[in-house]
């Protein structure tokens, strides 16, 4: 990756120039948690960033929760999203593959994805639910985002991970200089430090995630363990909705008050009982524990969602969202030790 240095007195100019005239989404601290929200570009007076991932994942803006899809494909506004973290990015690869490839392209996602610039930055802190380092991920972005930023003394290092990112740097290039050896080693040190921090956080919580998750999940475990694990799941689907990589949806049809047929694509959840039910009542995933295990299988067994590696990036959102206190890290541990 070709790292450039952006001096702190240039940062705001750069941010303003790439966000000019676009819809701007930035991390905002609200009652102790970080949320990605639209903000007026004029009110930006510092580089928009958060110490760790926001509550909302990127899919909220690219594959939006509910969208009218029965008619014409609208032209979307050019958008810039700041505050993407490393654990937000693998999901984009999953969504891109699913929605942009195959026999059919999903035109609504495609339109938003094309018009959205994604800016990611290293984490400087972590949440108790973070476990990126335990699933082969790092707390600093290395790909997929258009631009990646790291904090260094006196400014920021920036690199492009996509063609669009390269173009952005070229277009706004005047203010950059090549990163120095010193700056690169400072970046490396900081990156190692945050990686260590996530590891220590996991150790302190006594969470040890085995390396062979796929194997563990693939073994035919007695359903009894899963029955017990799934006991507190209330099938709300929150884990599905907050997950950056969960992409299931349903099409629903309704009549407007003027009698016009409206078709909406809405997020759906594989944790809900009716997700796979067919007429007559047959349902391959009738049991809650089967649905819960199914979700984990989809995250950790290739090539279900991802060709290689895991489809879970360790962002921990599903852990924070679960009112049944289900923690997939502990589930994996429990199943491994069963």
């Amino acid at each position: 990756m070709n790292w450039l240095f952006l001096h702190s007195n240039q940062i705001l100019t750069f941010v303003k120039s790439i966000t000019d005239g676009k819809l701007l989404i930035v991390p905002v601290l609200i009652e102790g948690s970080w949320h990605l929200q639209a903000q007026n570009p004029d009110s930006i007076n510092e580089f928009p960033n958060s110490p760790f991932r926001a509550t909302e994942s990127l899919k909220t803006f690219l594959f939006i929760p509910a969208e009218s899809v029965g008619g014409e494909i609208p032209s979307e506004k050019e958008t810039v999203i700041f505050g993407a973290k490393s654990c937000d990015l693998p999901a984009l690869q999953i969504l891109d593959k699913l929605f942009l490839e195959g026999a059919f392209e999903e035109p609504f996602y495609s339109e938003r994805r094309k018009k959205t610039i994604i800016i990611a930055e290293d984490c400087s802190d972590c949440l108790p639910s973070c476990f990126c380092v335990a699933v082969g991920n790092t707390p600093y972005p290395e790909n997929t985002a258009d631009l990646i930023f790291s904090d260094v003394e006196g400014g920021k290092l920036v690199a492009a991970a996509t063609e669009r990112g390269e173009e952005l740097l070229k277009k706004h290039g005047g203010s950059f200089s090549a990163a120095t050896e010193l700056q690169l080693s400072e970046q490396k040190e900081k990156r190692n430090a945050i990686k260590e921090k996530v590891k220590i956080s996991l150790q302190e919580q006594k969470i040890e995630i085995p390396e062979n998750i796929a194997e563990i999940l693939q073994k035919k475990w007695p359903d009894k363990i899963w029955e017990k694990i799934a006991e507190t799941c209330v099938e709300c689907g929150a884990c599905n909705f907050v997950c950056p990589g969960c992409h299931c949806f349903s099409l629903t049809d309704e009549l407007t008050s003027e009698g016009k047929a409206l078709r909406t694509r809405v997020w759906d959840a594989c944790l809900s009982e009716n997700f796979t039910r067919v007429a007559g009542g047959a349902n391959p995933n009738k049991k809650r524990e089967v649905r819960l295990r199914h979700r984990l299988e989809r995250k950790f067994i290739a090539p279900y969602e991802a060709e290689e590696g895991y489809a879970c990036s360790g962002c921990g959102r599903c852990i924070d969202a679960c009112i049944g206190k289900l923690d997939m890290r502990k589930i994996i541990q429990e199943v491994a030790n069963a």
Binding site: V69, G102, C248, F249
Partner: protein, 274 residues
Amino acid sequence: MPENPYKSIPAKLLDVIEESGTIKTFVLKPERPILFEAGQFIEMAVPGVGEAPFTPSSSPAVSEKMDVTVMRVGKITEVLHDLSPGAMLGLRGPLGKPYPVDTEFKGKEILVIGGGVGLAPLRSLLYALLDRIDTYKKVVVRFGARSPQDIIYKDLMKKWTTNSPMDFVISVDADDTGKWKGPVGMVTTIMDDLPINISDAVAVVCGPPIMMKFATLKLLELGYADSRIYLSMEKNMSCGIGKCGHCRLGPYFVCEDGPVMTYDKIKNYEAIWD
């Protein structure tokens, strides 16, 4: 800009044919022709009410009209059954992969096993097979209905079982008319002594899940290779284009990788028959 795969093509309901107490055939004229191949399906919508997947039952060679045979089982199928000619419906498709009638099936002996409303999708396959009957060694059909009254497409069935290039036998689970002259028993009971050279044959199975299960087990027992058994998988579907996740079966999207799938691909996954 790509086309919108969620947008239905308006289709006018030309005729409604009553096939049995719970099954009707809807004859549709789409605003523009929908060219499909046997085995592919469509999503049919009652505008503003909802959509469901169905396999056309008409000949794939006919493009200006399309027949869809529907069993009344729930929300959308009930609304459909109450419609009269003239109503407007919506169609999306064709979706999924067709039977390999011109490739893997070519030069083979073809055994088709069907049950219940499974005859609807099979009718379009049989039309396609008849259109190229000379390219197969033979076509043998064994079909099971609950009772003589439940047999749909009665006139066509009479013709196909008595006077056609196919070896076609229908059995009924029970004869409630006292007039049935054919065999009585589940379809699996007429699968012994088939005039088929198994090593040179492919088998197609389509029907209710329970029938599919027992017919497949029977085929395996008879010695059919896993990869030569073509199953029509019925899963909950919404998008029909491999995106929404409803039809997931192991690593597959049944709507995109199927709905016809060979047994070797799916046998290791749980609950394939549910």
